[in-house]
Assembly symmetry: C2
């Protein structure tokens, strides 16, 4: 079922997903949802918009994953308003 | 290996990932990479920043997936500068 349109590169890559916290409003997502509703896409009941970081690394080791996980929580996301949803290797979809 | 920090909701959700095209510069990613380098995270060799949409739907059917895939290409991404990397169910990671 997952349709992959662009194959990811074979360079070792970690993917970090960051989303606005569930309990906070996401005005950008609300705007997109409104636009989709007006265009007749009635199956969609809500939209939230976050960020996806593709971080190319020299090698994927436990140490590198730990480092990137720390960076994800401290630098790539604002913990007041966002959650780090996942840190994983790019090909592990 | 994938560390999931926040479990996703059980509401049927499609995730759309959009990234800047590989052949284009990503100044935001470059800035983050520069900051990480200065902070001593030398394992990171590049960073690219895209968007992750969580689209809640009433039910995941082939028709809904086709509709969201169309929306992803026409509305959620700017095909001049961005690629839709994937459209998939949230739990199919």
């Amino acid at each position: 079922m997952p349709s992959v349109f662009v194959s990811e590169s074979h360079v070792p890559t970690l993917v970090v997903d960051v989303m606005p916290k569930a309990e906070l409003l996401d005005p950008q997502g609300k705007a997109v949802h409104g636009a989709l509703s007006r265009l007749g896409h009635s199956a969609v009941s809500s939209v939230r918009i976050g960020k996806r970081f593709e971080i190319t690394v020299d090698e994927v080791t436990d140490e590198v994953i730990a480092d990137v996980t720390k960076v994800a929580g401290e630098i790539l996301s604002n913990s007041v308003i966002e959650d780090v949803v996942s840190v994983r290797e790019a090909n592990e979809r």
